[in-house]
Assembly symmetry: C2
Homo-oligomer: 168 residues x 2
DNA sequence: TTTTATTTTCAATTAATTTTGAAAGTTCAG
DNA sequence: CTGAACTTTCAAAATTAATTGAAAATAAAA
């Protein structure tokens, strides 16, 4: 398989994959492009390679930067900005976990703890089911929270070594 | 807080939460409603409680059934169908992991292994970066695959007990 | 300062997804 | 069978999300 073909395939699939996870297709594609680009690239490079508008590139790049997956690079003596993605895939994964946890899991746990205190008869079937369900989701969420926290701090070696041993 | 109010809050937030994860808002809301309903409910109940059309309920319920999160219940002597959600939240979580793994991770790993063999000079910077990146994503994906497989088979006790111990 | 290169913004457009609702299909009691 | 009760389908409509592109803003060079 030719490089250009494989690259196209990767970028387009990464975009489709992202979509299923609630990530803007273009953002995922830009990320994919940067992941396989050894050198920093410009907005114009991205516009050309993905056939998308300047505004679109700009917004999605900023988004990727806010996720700390991409950094802005100023080359000395150059007017244009360049962009480069974090290439250590373990760091990429933990960074995504960290951000999604912060943006989604934490707020959800906060909400659940607000739904805790229900007025009225705790013996009522409806009330009982609600309180129990919120409680068990909260419990699971808190456990996931702890596990993810450790993962975020861990080294990749720990994952491949120690943890996989636990999983025999 | 009143039950009805808390329930509304939960359903609507669960829907918003689902959206961020690439899950249809209505599907997530129906799931939330069923999670906090102690008894099986009908399509009409769902239509009324969420103010949505019959077709919408029907399609999303089928989707939930295909995820094995909801089951169809026929009450003896009744003409209508009833629906009920799996209430064990650990089972819900592992079932979702199982399905997403099957529908998303597995196909992605399959794709990556097809992008392995690139023609041309492995010393070329572009080629090298591509091959290495695909390789490391594949490696991480395979590790995640193993970990998730064990989780899917595990009991919740294992998660709360043994695993959390590993995480001190 | 003025000019030029480059980035950012955002209203308008386009695309993608979701929802509706009525018709067709199914099932079952009488 | 027949018809009422109920479920399913799917084209069209509505909604939501993403994208464009040109104008405004910014920053560096002349």
């Amino acid at each position: 398989m030719k490089l250009s073909e494989a690259k196209q395939q990767f970028i387009s699939s990464w975009g489709a994959f992202g979509t299923q996870w609630g990530i803007n297709r273009t953002m995922a594609q830009i990320h994919a492009l940067l992941l396989v680009s050894p050198d920093p690239v410009t907005q114009d490079d991205i516009m050309e390679q993905l056939s998308i508008s300047r505004g679109n590139v700009n917004m999605n790049i900023r988004d990727l930067i806010s996720w700390s997956l991409v950094e802005r690079i100023i080359l000395p003596g150059e007017r244009k900005e360049y962009f480069s993605a974090e290439k250590d895939i373990w760091k990429v994964a933990t960074q995504i976990i960290k951000e999604r946890k912060k943006r989604e899991l934490d707020p959800m746990l906060k909400l659940l703890s607000q739904l805790d205190n229900i007025d009225g008869d705790k013996k009522d079937k409806e009330t009982k089911q609600f309180v129990e369900m919120i409680g068990s989701i909260k419990k699971l969420g808190n456990q996931a929270d702890k596990v993810l926290d450790v993962m975020i701090k861990a080294e990749e070696n720990w994952f491949t070594g120690s943890l996989l041993k636990v999983f025999k």
